[in-house]
Symmetry: C2
Subunit: 274 residues, 2 copies
DNA sequence: CGACCGATTGAGGCATGTCAAAAACGGTGG
DNA sequence: CCACCGTTTTTGACATGCCTCAATCGGTCG
């Protein structure tokens, strides 16, 4: 399995999987993720996709989806586009604690009625489905596997949050940026948005810095080093990985927390790769 | 440090609540927390407490509950004592990403079968209930309110994790320590372990430093400042808050994320205090 | 064309890390 | 009761990674 690591550049596997999902091209990404770790019946997939599609609407960039103290209208599911969750500090600094990518559920905490303590806002123009909690709960009751799949999804989000805590606290600037980019790249791959070793990355250096607890200035210098090392390029809102193993090594990136593997032991991915 | 203290100090409310729970003194803390935000029937409380009590066992300090890569035997619920979740880095440094207090569920991620990416270990001698997932699932199916209560509990854990990400990334050393101590103090209060403005805090300065992304040396200096300012004292494994409002102010601590308030708007706590 | 936003560069300062070592503490055995 | 030992806390001197402030440059859009 050691060789798998070097061979396995994420993105190269997305071809076969993509052909599998043609039911609903836009709303499909969440289902795709869920099914990846948890089998769903066709009926369940259709039910969820239908619900999402019915509730979907376009929003422009920088739209605030959910503000501090606001009583939420429902759970926000990103169908397309990027969003983030952040806190504004008294001195005007912004700290981003999460990025949301296509197919992500932004606010499981709607179930915590006590109100948000942070803000969620779109980064790019996006399509968002706003599902009120009772409706989703109803769907979950009708389809128990969906309940479990969504529960997993929220636990994965928690695992990502732990990884961020680690990342911000432990690593050098260069490593932090590298680690974040590794994570985003794999998460984009998981929903089929990586092609030929590159994916969209609509973040400014301010976003990256606010997420890694760095100033945009220092972020800039760290990025330059990563480029100079030949590990990646990041231009025109597009990230391209040139040397995945080296990047992973530098970042001390262990993808285990993303829960990507199909099934422990089956290693379906590497088989498909061989 | 006197008048303000008596008005607003958490812990002064624990008296009345404590009288409420005498069913099972040791296993009771999780139930106490759950019921605080979510009504449970007596039958449900008894069922959960009975299950926990049946599976409970003592462990000594520094016992590893769950190790990286290990297939978990079940969900660990701390009945008494402290534990933490950490990652060891290649250079020997340790990064703590979570503390677990009496009444906490350590590893909801057992449901993520792909194996742990971190280590969970006791800090003090403790009593731990190890509940295998199917059994807990069965209990949850029989008692839907328990499902929701546990789901909330895991979402609260995720909110705490976001607060840690923020804390580590944004604040000065002094503020980080202060913020962490505020959080731990309130969490101890939530399970009735605060008396007269003080609670057990069995952490070394290494623990605090590893959790705040600081060296123990710098942690020491930050703590000295907090003591010198008259905000708190921390000695003999015991934390005493002398000036809660000032500490909260210094730390920019907003307890909203802990989801403590009974019901938004009722402010039952402060009314009881006045 | 002017205004604005994002990326980039440079110089200097400060908070925190690193290294080294001495106290204080707490338990254990003689 | 004391001597011993490992752990934890504390102190000091020095190094450095990242922040701050200030400015330029290049796109993009009205």
């Amino acid at each position: 399995m050691t060789s798998v690591l070097s061979e396995h550049r994420p993105g190269s596997t997305s071809g076969p999987r993509t052909s599998f999902s043609t039911r609903s091209p836009a709303a499909d990404k969440l289902v795709r993720k869920l099914r990846d770790r948890h089998p769903l019946s066709a009926a369940e997939e259709v039910a969820l996709n239908t619900l999402l599609a019915a509730k979907a609407g376009p929003i422009s960039g920088r739209t605030v989806l959910l503000d501090r103290g606001m009583q939420p209208s429902g759970i926000h599911v990103l169908l397309d586009g990027w969003a983030c969750r952040y806190t504004m500090l008294v001195d005007g600094r912004r700290r981003i604690v999460a990025f949301y990518l296509p197919g992500d559920v932004c606010d499981f905490d709607v179930f915590l009625l006590a109100g948000m303590d942070q803000t969620i806002a779109a980064i790019t123009p996006a399509r968002v489905a706003v599902v009120d909690a009772p409706m989703l709960a109803g769907l979950a009751i009708d389809h128990p596997p969906l309940t479990q799949a969504l529960w997993w999804e929220s636990l994965t989000a928690a695992a990502i949050q732990r990884a961020w805590t680690l990342n911000v606290g432990q690593r050098s600037a260069k490593q932090r940026i590298a680690h974040l980019l590794c994570e985003l790249y794999l998460r984009m791959d998981r929903v089929g948005l990586v092609q030929d070793g590159s994916c969209a990355l609509p973040l400014t250096q301010f976003h990256l810095g606010d997420a890694c607890a760095l100033t945009s200035i220092h972020t800039n210098r760290a990025l330059q080093e990563l480029r100079r090392d030949g590990l990646l390029s990041l231009e025109a809102r597009r990230l391209t990985i040139h040397d995945w193993p080296a990047l992973v090594d530098l970042a001390a990136f262990d993808p285990a927390y993303l829960q990507l593997s199909k099934e422990p032991g089956t290693s379906g991915d590497s088989a498909a790769l061989g």
